[in-house]
Symmetry: none
């Protein structure tokens, strides 16, 4: 969101101070981890980063943009590999999802994004484009590969994606169940056609 704009800027005038930029983003991260999204303020970021408010406003128009850029790779879910083993690929996809959702900074940002998204279209779009959709596309491909080999227990891939994301979200971020090991196995049992015996579990 910002990098594109930056690279497109004219080369005249005093160049942007990368030191300030880094100080700001670091301050955002620190404050998010310390007090969450709601209590994050431009004023506080400016003070902690040793930067003027105007400098922040010059480059980020909203708290959302700021947080999205500050969180950086923490919320960037890795792409799902294509190893030839569809089952392993899907396991990897779920692992990546759980890994990101379990990251504290990421969870704060994801909550913030979901909430803000309800009132801010641009933010919602950015959230989808940066966090979920890249993973979703590569995860969809992994599911398609499984489907071609008739390994999938369900034909509606979009539904399966919503199921996986929704269940992981519910378990890690809403219920905050720290034991997520069973989660992955259970999801695999749901998604893939059972080969011989059904999965076990205790509710």
């Amino acid at each position: 969101m910002q990098s594109e704009a930056r690279s497109g800027r004219p080369v005249i005038g005093r160049p942007r101070s990368e030191g300030s930029r880094e100080a700001i983003l670091a301050a955002v991260r620190d404050l998010l981890l310390k007090g969450g999204y709601a209590s994050l303020t431009f004023e506080g970021v400016a003070k902690r980063a040793g930067v003027s408010k105007a400098t922040i406003y010059r480059w980020w128009r909203s708290k959302g943009e700021l947080v999205l850029e500050a969180s950086g790779d923490a919320i960037r879910i890795g792409l799902v590999p294509d190893t030839g083993d569809a089952r392993a690929d899907i396991v990897a996809a779920i692992d990546q999802l759980i890994g990101t959702f379990s990251n504290r900074l990421a969870s704060i940002v994801i909550f913030a994004a979901i909430t803000t998204a309800a009132e801010d279209r641009a933010m919602a779009q950015a959230l989808r484009d940066r966090i979920i959709y890249p993973w979703r596309r590569s995860a969809a491909e992994a599911l398609e590969r499984a489907q071609e080999r008739d390994e999938l227990a369900h034909n509606d891939i979009v539904f399966l994606l919503d199921l996986i994301v929704g269940t992981v979200f519910q378990r890690t971020l809403v219920v905050k169940d720290p034991v997520v090991e069973g989660l992955k196995d259970n999801l695999m049992a749901i998604v893939l056609r059972r080969r011989d015996s059904g999965p076990t579990g205790s509710g």
Copy 2:
């Protein structure tokens, strides 16, 4: 949360004005529907309800409490019936979930609750106690009845509940897919042991 406090108040002195209470809650509903949770302010509620801020603060300590009480039945998911037909009961449970999540006022409140919950333990507890848990308990019973008849495709009932809630949440509130008809069928196909032929769907 509030009713307890209220019933514990002294019986002498001027009684609480029910008119004010209703005006406040109505104002909250109006303002939530108009501008969402983030732009809801005590100041604005007081102005619209024709009430002083102090009166609101006397009875509700936070925006969360206020919203939770104002939303009232809109977010109260009905209990799952026991008709003897486990399949029908589970369908009813999912319907209730989708119905509530599709309600505009309820969706605003649920978002607010989830977000606030990340920073406010009391709010998180209230959310669970009032919105999800009653449904969850009776839905669990319906699933148990199905399990006893060996109709369930999966043994981990807690997992199934998270799966149902998470998927519905994802589809209705995050992706905001207005077509939720297939959602119910797909969920049923996942939850219940397939009787003859597998379910169909196209993502």
Copy 3:
């Protein structure tokens, strides 16, 4: 300006804090004497008075109003007496003018008022109504009494008033001549018909 408004306020609600009011006005006086009008800021007044900016803005809409009220009696020129001795009365009028213009706080306020007046009609009006006009009216009466006894050297009383005020302003506030003793005598010699010998002076 403020007292009228205050007395006309409704008797309901929390009454205005007189302590805050006095602290604010004292802070304004201190800061004016320390740094002049230009460097006086709402922010600074709030800080020094231990008061919030909003409280200042609630009661005074502009720096001008604030300064005008803070200066209070320092800029209020006394009324000219009617002792029966027209010459003595006019001397008193000039003394009052010089006395006020020589007061440091008053001079700051008068400068501010004149300057602001160029861009703020209300301020100009307030300046005239509070500082100059009351004096001017009673001074005009003293001049008229002298005129009736044929003691005036000039028939145009309005001109004489402008002459007195203008000359005193020029000498005390623009040229900042600390020796103003001759000023009074010289003005008297100009205003009154010479009785026997002409006035003397050496510039």
Copy 4:
């Protein structure tokens, strides 16, 4: 103030752009006439002149200097001639004063100068050197010529100068009386010894 600095600059290197200089001074004049001194900003001048802020700061250190130079001849009161007719010379002196004080741009600058002078010694000096003192010296000479012929009604020439300047300032810039015709006659009657009949006027 500026010419000295400019003439002392090195003769090598790129010479100062006179186009920028003129654009800046013209912008200052426009903005002064449009919004007065208080709302004049370096930022605004730079924008309107199509010039960078740094260029303005390079040549003028303060708003005062900028305005003083921009106003140029508008505030430069002409020298009083020596025609041999002392009365006519004094009339000319007063006319020049009234003429300058009635000029809109000049009046803005004079107010600005007086105000700034209260807090800025250098500005006060510049104001005196450029606006009032040249006129004052030549007007003093005209009064001295009249004094030598015993035409002066008052011996204190410095006082008379303050009286003239003060009264004209008061009438034209404070009271803003547009009818200044009587002003000149009245001042002449005060300054010069009456020859036969006394002056007339109606207050």
